[in-house]
Amino acid sequence: MSQKKTAGRNAAERVRAGTLQAEADLRQTWPEVVAFLSSIKTSATASVPAVTEPLDRDSLKVSQEERAQLLEQLKALTALPPGQLDSATAQELSLRLQYCLGHQLSFQNREYQLSYSHGSITAVTRSDHLGKKSRSTGSAPDDWSVWISPRDFSTELRSQWHDPWFLHQHVVVFNPAAAKGVVAQIAGILTEGLHRYQFGGSKKLLQTGNFWAPGIHGRCIVCFLGEALPLGSIIPLAAIEKTQ
């Protein structure tokens, strides 16, 4: 009996020592998670059945709260001046977009990313785009084209006219104010006369995304799409709208 008590005491001491060590280790690399676990520690009980059950994926649907948080984050981003999206936030937002929307979305395309991932968008017609005649790519269907600020196109590249890395890439142009995104293809760079905008969009793209609806000032977020979705597809954030 006494041996059993001693073994129990030893085991408990080892658990406590292990906990202190694990907390100290984790606090160095991930202090937020230690703080969170500590805060819920008192509510943790050992009465949960130890049987491993398969995860019920239906119960894992993205919650309204998570969607609302995403929408708030997107709205906050569009309110910032262009160029204010740091890489850590961009990656965190990419993960959140993928998680909530279920699509492969990223602000990076291989090792590249746009100088501006958010900003103002204006209507661009094909004739505007052909200001530099020989520079037309001509590959993206006009209806779902988006153009990128010349900032992403260096003087050197402009003089040599190499295709910029972002050309032909599929993107989703999000309009958080209308709670939707539209799948588009990057057709080229904005002509110099439009450089106060970070993006240009075809008429149909702007109409579909409601970029010019009353009270919406053409703010958008552009994200690379890593999967094949038809141009013009709408990525609805209807569930987010309901929470507003």
């Binding site: 129990g8 408990a12 658990v15 292990g18 906990t19 520690k41 943790a44 130890a50 998680y99």
Partner: protein
């Protein structure tokens, strides 16, 4: 009742090992053991995640541990094996007399 994070990584050997430790502990110490096992899983997972991924991971954990587990399985398949190894290692160390 919501399962604890480490319980999503329980294999049969882990269940047996934990049980052999639990029999020696009081109820309060069992709660401490579960806390330790959660720390062990997160410590193992932390090695695989960068700063942004950790931020996302904790936001999922706050909602429900199952969300974190599903996301890790999809995004960091190595996380499951790493967590199981870490849990086994710690439980073995607790069963040695």
């Amino acid at each position: 009742m919501t399962k604890l994070l480490h319980q999503y990584y329980e294999t049969q050997p882990i269940v047996q090992l934990r049980q052999s430790v639990v029999t020696r502990l009081s109820a309060a110490d069992v709660a401490e053991l579960d806390y330790l096992l959660n720390l062990v899983v997160l410590k193992a997972v932390a090695q695989l995640l960068d700063t942004a991924a950790r931020q996302h991971a904790i936001s999922l954990l706050r909602v429900d541990p199952s969300r974190l587990v599903v996301w890790l399985d999809q995004t960091y398949p190595l996380a499951r094996m790493t967590s199981i190894e870490a849990l086994t290692r710690v439980l073995l160390s607790l069963t040695v007399d």
